[in-house]
Amino acid sequence: MNKIKDSFSKIKASDEFKDKLEKELLNTQSTLKTTPSKRIYYKPSIVAASILFILLGVVSLKLIMNTFGTDDTNLDGIAYNPIEKSNKEDNNSDSFLVDNSTNEKEETNNNDNNNNNDNNNNKGNDLLVYADKSEPNSPEKSLSTKNDISSVNNTPNEKEKKAPSEDSKDIISSHTEKVPFRSISSNEPINAITNTLSDNEVYIPKLELPTTGDIKLAAKMIPLIVYKEKIYTRSPIDIHSKNAKNFLGKKLGTTNLSINELSSHSEYSTDFTSNIGVTDVYSVNGYDEDFRIMTNIPLPDGTSYPEFYDSLNGLSIKTGEDFFRKLKLHNNILSAKFQTFDDWNSGNGISYSINDFNLLNSFVDSLDKSIPYLPENIEPLLGDYGNNENCKKITLNLKDGCENLTFTVLKSGYVYYDSPNVYFKIDGTILEEIWDKLSIMSIN
């Protein structure tokens, strides 16, 4: 038992308190609503019978329609037409929309059109899959649709391909925008994927908050502030108290409602609603108000506790620059260090300074030129990279006072920043140089 455990084990509820608490809770319980749980349970036999009944009804209906009501002579006696189904799937908001203008399987030829995707999204060999974000975008699911639609030539219109309009006023309501992503075969080499995706942009959907009282999500609350119909979540960047005044811009308002895991959905719709208590909110000097705001809670010892809140959702990213320029990394690095994965994961405080600013500048430049990927598309291929062989953590401190901007750098060429939830593929040569130099530093 460590020292803290030993000492803090002395802090515990007294028997007297427990007795009193038990009585209080029993009294409270008797006054609480006694409505039964909303979940309704059915006997399995009833459920099975209902499903069977519905299936029989659907099949009967199909047979009747095929017998009496169709002009398509090819469909005589056929209750299920795969082509028709695929077309319907394209128009169904709950299904995947597919652009595959050739009948060939994409796994074998996706290396050929490396440079043409910007012009040829609707005619290349790539299989683009548009997924409703309200559904899990698992690659397995995408793959499962491939076979069904391989013979179908349905090109979604350009409007569907783009990120959803910013016109949406209800930032909280569950949306059904079509977000482009590409299905990836699990046996496809990473480089092949990279090439064929070089001009795709990714869209980080607007932050969705639970619309129902999904209690299972309750322990996953993110510190947030609602401002101008956007949700700003707490940034992982640290700011020293002494630097707070340099960042403090004009006061925008004061958080006016304390929401928590138990708040209803409607409570998220007002400006300055937050779950961080009541505190003043400011713009941040040097940073775009649409991207970053801050709080600065005064502490009793005269210092303060500044925090950034960033809005990194509802965002289209075509290259890394679309995101990283917001962080103002160029010519702004004060110091840098890196950690091996194990040192970082164990929190042992061991790190290595990076004094090669040319290397850091190359890193920042490569971030700007990087290509974004949604995690659901790339993580299955990256595998478990949480080890010293494949992962390092680079942490930057900036001249303006922003501290601990940590980038997860993978040997496979991808960089992950804490937010938004996107991987960025950087130039392989630069990554190799960075990786080698960092490895040498850690050995020395």
Binding site: K5, S7, K10, K18, Q29, D238, W344
Partner: protein, 162 residues
């Protein structure tokens, strides 16, 4: 064990299983026992009101911890709390060495306290703490590291990592 919500057995189970943990985490924020007891009671009331469903015991524990932390933060930020002074004397049975350690942890900045406690006392990993507090793993790692350094400087001795 009768784990039907609201039964006397269930309430007894909740209190026996979690009250120490909730008192401890609330105390780390409030720094006084009476407020920690108030928060613990509030957590249980919320629990009985909301009747959340959990995937497993760990989920249940994490939920309770999260609610206790939120209620503690809310209370610390409330105008009432800011304008009142806590009662003196906590009547915690500790020796001098324990007390030094407890005070050292309580003297840490707020953001480090719960992380240190969850890591060292509740034996949560960085990843698990990240889930409970909804803070990025990298932030947890760096804050734990800094909290540890601060503790080392306060207690003038090396600190165990595990």
């Amino acid at each position: 064990m009768n784990k039907v919500y609201g039964t006397k057995n269930y309430i007894h189970y909740l209190i026996e299983k979690y009250s120490d943990m909730l008192i401890r985490i609330s105390y780390s924020y409030m720094k006084n026992l009476s407020d920690a007891e108030d928060i613990t009671q509030d957590v249980f009331i919320k629990f009985l009101e909301k009747r959340p469903e959990f995937e497993n015991i760990e989920h249940e524990k994490a939920w309770l911890l999260r609610i206790a932390i939120n209620l503690s933060k809310d209370k610390l930020k409330s105008a009432y709390f800011k304008n009142t002074a806590p009662l003196e004397g906590d009547f915690i049975d500790t020796n001098q060495k324990d007390d030094e350690t407890i005070q050292a942890v309580l003297s840490l900045p707020l953001k480090y306290r719960s992380i240190v406690l969850l890591y060292y006392y509740e034996d949560y990993s960085i990843s698990e703490i990240s889930n409970i507090l909804n803070i990025k793993e990298s932030t947890i790692g760096s804050q734990l590291s800094r909290g540890r350094k601060l503790l080392k400087s306060i207690l003038k001795e090396d600190f165990e990592y595990e």
